[in-house]
Amino acid sequence: MKGFWQRALRHPSFAAGGLLTALLAAAALLSLFWAPYPPAEIDIPNKLQGPSAAHWLGTDSLGRDIASQLLVGAQNSIVVGLVAVGIGLGLGVLLGCIASARRGWAEELIMRASDFTFAFPALLSAIMLTAIYGPGLVMSIVAIGIFNIPVFARITRGAANAVWARDYVTAARAAGKGPMAITLDHVLPNIANQLIVQATISFATAILAEAALTYLGLGTQPPQPSWGRMLNEAQTQMFQAPLLAVYPGVAIMLSVLGLNLMGDGLRDLMDPKLARRR
């Protein structure tokens, strides 16, 4: 494990990605305890101010502090990413493992179903859900989570099938181990790497999807600050305060970039063969 971290810190994209991701996590954690101002505090006399010592990044059209909103907005992105990936990971890995352990009709059914789910990108599911239940954080998380299930189911099944074909699994079966025990003892530990890499990348995709949904007004609702809605509000002030439309976008971009770089780095680090081939 010590060797892993030594290699990891020297891997440029993992190191850069890890740093950006750590910044995102730190911003969210910090904002739980402290922010320069309460993010939803309206202060009309000080609206649309430029960056200053009092307001590092200025204020928006209602006088709310931009830096504070950005900090607290990080919480929103992290929660959405964690839960949406958690839904996809939990159900997707379960389905993928079942498909791979049982083969036959179960595999066919699960794989057809996950092919089918791709017909409904997160945005379409979100549109259907919000049309009925109204917009909100939960609906957007559910929509993104549903889309993640087939992503993980496919990866799990592909990787697990390869493990099932290995000699040590045959040996375990000969020794009388059942499919459940083999899945837990041999399959999952051997496919964990691939799942971690995909989880990192899905986390980034979830942040992007959530920002788009919130921008459209289908996701997180006020007064909870979110980067997507900050962009939506900034668009109405573009002629007076163009910078307002820049900060939240940069925050989203750096978070997504960080997670993607970290995912790429992890893939290289965990698969030495691939790293050499590149």
Partner: protein
């Protein structure tokens, strides 16, 4: 070949059928009473009963489903509750914006991605390659609606070359005829949205193109071709490109689906009267009839594109035709 085609076609139809059931169940059965949802809490029992009768909610679900699908197939769709117009009419009108936009964006994506991907692959591990890869990593991380806003900031607010949004229509406003000027104006309104949509997709596709080309360049037949005296460039064009197309096609197909849903977001940034704006307004108006038909259309397009990609595979790689 015919067996392959038939099998794929059957899967395509089955997927469409399942999609229609899902859309129907989610939007018609799950809400309980759609009329209540549309009219809100303040509705009187009379108005509820009237709307229920108009939407046909008093009939059994199976009959409603059959009616809806039958109507879709015949082109006779239900009436939008907010516009009082058949949804097909609304959608066809809005597609005149969305379809050209999606195609323009797809065209841009493919051209950009192939150019960048090939360039990076043929300059493997040199400065150009690293530059393209870094730029594409950045492109993937940029949300398309934010890029759209940045484009508006630069070209509409700062340089004032184009308007910040809106769509003038394809025909001339006064005469109603299609003139070169009116078509040009309309196209101009679609250029920035198309660029905003294409950037992210091109970044992803460029990476796929690069790695696919690199993969094929290591194959024995390419070495043979080079040994027979072909230059690197000749080998690339004659042997590598066609063989590298399979992963590129797969991803491009999936991306078209992303572009279609991406238009929903980008149309709202640029206030373009397309299908995306239609469905978005339908949500605000609680117009479930429009939401249902648009979602079905978009899901149908995604399924259709996947079907076409499957066929293209078989065309590019004859080995797959027997599988």
């Amino acid at each position: 070949m015919p067996v392959f085609l038939l099998k794929r076609f059957a899967t395509f139809l089955a997927t469409l059928a399942v999609a229609s059931v899902v859309v129907f169940v989610v939007l018609e059965l799950l809400p309980g009473n759609a009329a209540e949802l549309i009219l809100g809490d303040t509705a009187t029992p009379e108005s509820l009963a009237a709307l229920e009768a108009r939407l046909g909610l008093d009939r059994p679900p199976l009959e409603r489903y059959a009616d809806w699908v039958g109507g879709l197939l015949r082109g006779e769709t239900g009436l939008s509750t907010s516009y009082d117009t058949p949804t097909a009419e609304l959608i066809v009108e809005r597609l005149q914006v969305t379809l050209p936009l999606a195609l323009l964006a797809m065209g841009l994506t493919v051209v950009l991605a192939l150019a960048l991907g090939l360039y990076a692959a043929s300059h493997h591990n040199k400065l150009g390659d690293v530059g393209v890869m870094a730029a594409s990593q950045l492109g993937i991380a940029i949300p398309n609606f934010w890029f759209a806003i940045l484009l508006i900031l630069l070209f509409a607010v700062h340089l004032q070359w184009v308007s910040a949004g809106g769509f003038p229509g394809w025909a001339d406003e006064d005469s109603g005829a299609f003139t070169a000027a009116s078509l040009g104006e309309a196209l101009k309104a679609l250029v920035l949205p198309a660029i905003a949509l294409a950037l992210v997709q091109a970044a992803i596709l460029a990476r796929v193109t690069r790695s696919a080309v690199l993969e094929v360049m290591r194959e024995d037949f390419v070495r043979t071709a080079r040994a027979k005296g072909l230059t690197r460039r000749q080998a690339l064009w004659r042997h590598v490109l066609r063989n590298a197309m399979i992963p590129v096609l797969t991803v491009a197909g999936l991306q078209f689906a992303n572009l279609i849903t991406g238009t929903i977001v980008v149309e709202n940034v640029f206030v373009l009267p397309g299908v995306g704006r239609l469905v978005f307004q339908a949500i605000s108006n609680r117009d479930l009839v429009v939401v249902r038909d648009v979602v079905m259309l978009l899901a149908g397009v995604v399924v259709l594109v996947n079907f076409v990609v499957d066929l293209l595979y078989a065309w590019v790689d004859p080995r797959l035709r027997v599988a």
